[in-house]
């Protein structure tokens, strides 16, 4: 126990010193004059911008637009991903027919679809939500299809001997058995849904954090831009942590599941 505690504190110590080191490096690089003046503003100015933004209703407007885009895109993409993944995994033929295509598309940067989405849904939130949804759909689908195929076939046998309906099999066997791949899909998906929403905001938009960052860039208000980027990082990181802890809530189950199938 004492050893474990010592280890944890040592890791934390290293983390803090690494962060401090990076900060110093940042400040030194900014002050060195090697870069164009103002490109690397002092953390002091970034901090001040952050404080100013936190009291700015326009900023919060952008923030809530982006949050809405990410969350709805994430929800739609994950839900469709679960449904399609289940269908692909449960039916051997549909898996063989569609999965290669999905795998190719999964490896393609989703931003190439943005022009199509812009035409379809306009430059408002529609194109952002759809790109976010499209981004997180693929990892969920593939993770789930593989998960279904890796399931212990005896679980389904039990369902078969009891004559369970399709809905019962999905609710009582497939979904609980697939908590690990679903949580993997959710965690991977949230990050890239965020990327999808912000990328399309940066490309073409009139609202959102990406748009605000680009506006600050155009004004050459680098501290504000940096502050917005920090907010975006925090948002993505926090979301990831939140999903991780929610999925792990029925804790022992998830752990047991992986132990059992290994």
């Amino acid at each position: 126990m004492a050893l474990a505690k010592q280890m944890i504190s040592r890791v934390t110590l290293y983390r803090i010193s690494a962060a401090l080191f990076l900060l110093t490096l940042w400040e030194a690089a900014g002050a060195s004059g090697l870069f164009f003046k103002g490109v690397l503003p002092s953390t002091w100015f970034i901090g001040k911008s952050l404080i100013r933004l936190s009291g700015d209703p326009i900023f919060w407007g952008h923030f809530s637009v982006t949050l809405f885009e990410i969350l709805s895109g994430f929800a739609i993409g994950s839900l469709v991903g679960i449904i399609v993944g289940l269908a692909l995994g449960m039916n051997r033929y549909s898996g063989q027919i569609f999965e290669p295509v999905i795998e190719y598309l999964a490896a393609t940067p989703k931003v190439v679809f943005l022009p199509i989405l812009l035409i379809l849904f306009g430059i408002g939130v529609g194109s952002k939500i759809s790109l976010a949804a499209l981004s997180c759909f693929f990892p969920m689908t593939l993770s789930l299809a593989a998960g279904v195929r890796g399931m212990n076939p005896m679980f389904l046998r039990v369902g078969q001997t009891l004559n369970l309906s399709l809905a019962q099999r999905i609710r009582m066997i497939y979904l609980p058995a697939l908590v690990p791949p679903i949580s993997t899909g959710l965690r991977l998906g949230f990050g890239i849904a965020t990327v999808g929403a912000l990328l399309s905001e940066i490309k073409l938009s009139n609202k959102g954090l990406g748009h605000a960052a680009m506006q600050a860039y155009a004004r050459f208000d680098i501290p504000t831009m940096m502050a917005i980027l920090i907010v975006i990082f925090a948002l993505a990181g926090l979301g990831n942590m939140l999903i991780g802890s929610i999925i792990r809530l029925p804790g022992p189950n998830t752990r047991r599941l992986t132990k059992e199938t290994s």
Binding site: Q160, T161, L257
Partner: protein, 272 residues
């Protein structure tokens, strides 16, 4: 519905055959097997690997639906899965995301039994298989023998007319297997559960059964039926008795021919 238990067997297998098409031609796995099981009887089918005993079990359980002949449950022909025919498998089949209690309650939950009612029933069944106190444990926290007892309790939860067990203890060590045999005897005594057990363990078959059916190596036929008249209740202490040993020897004499035939054929096939 009342049945005259002696005129209508609980399960009647009539002239059942199963052929498989393989690259080398047709293989007959089960060849004209007929068998009547009366209410409350415990029957074991014993045979060498490859005698088609698991195929037979899957046909009765409804997992295989294409075969010749017919299978009757309480006089009515059945094909496909019936909740009245409960199956316990050799492989691990407990749900790792459910506690022992919720595993046992699973069939009741699927059948729409309200929560408090199914939990009462699941408690009774866990008590029956000797797992009182483990209600809230997850399968991964229990031993293989305990998990298999959960699987048996789960199958019993639906009160099947007949319980099919396909080598349920094959993955367990010999001592655990004998002790679990005692448990099955007790369950049998209490529930008067009609049971068909598939096994390749002679001692297990003798300890548990009213009748032991010996099957031939491919094609699977019933070679002989041995009535076990050892007094009940039986326990694993009987395994050392002279009468018990006589039954084991008798069955082994028959089984030996079939097993060596199977071994020869497997080795010949491997040599090609």
């Amino acid at each position: 519905m009342m049945h005259d238990t002696h005129s209508t067997p609980t399960l009647s297998i009539q002239n059942v055959s199963k052929h498989f098409e393989t690259g080398k031609g047709t293989v007959t796995a089960v060849d004209h097997v007929s068998l009547d099981i009366q209410q409350g009887e415990f029957i074991s089918i014993i045979g060498p690997s490859g005698c088609g005993k698991s195929t037979l079990m899957n046909m009765i359980g409804g997992l295989i639906t294409e075969y010749d002949g017919s299978i009757l449950l309480d006089g009515k022909p059945v094909r496909g899965c019936q909740p009245e025919i409960g199956m316990v498998f050799q492989e691990e089949s407990t749900f790792p995301w459910r506690t022992a209690l919720d595993n046992v309650a699973f069939p009741l939950e699927a059948g729409g039994v309200p929560k408090d009612k199914r939990h009462v029933r699941a408690h009774e069944l866990l008590d029956l298989v000797g797992l009182t106190g483990f209600e809230n444990h997850f399968p991964s926290e229990l031993s293989g023998g305990m998990r298999q007892r959960i699987a048996i309790a789960r199958t019993l939860a639906f009160q099947p007319r007949i319980l099919l067990m396909d080598e349920p203890f094959a993955a367990l060590d010999e001592q655990t297997r004998l002790l679990l045999g005692d448990k099955v005897v007790q369950i049998q005594q209490k529930l008067k559960q009609t049971t068909l057990l598939i096994t390749h363990n002679i001692a297990e078959a003798v300890q548990l059964s009213d009748r032991v059916l010996i099957m031939t190596f491919r094609p699977g036929r019933i070679k002989r039926v041995v009535e076990i008249t050892l007094p009940r209740p039986r326990s694993s202490e009987m395994v050392g008795s002279e009468k018990f040993a006589a039954y084991v020897a008798e069955i082994w004499a028959d089984l030996r021919q079939e097993a060596s035939k199977g071994l020869k054929e497997t080795e010949a096939a491997a040599a090609h």
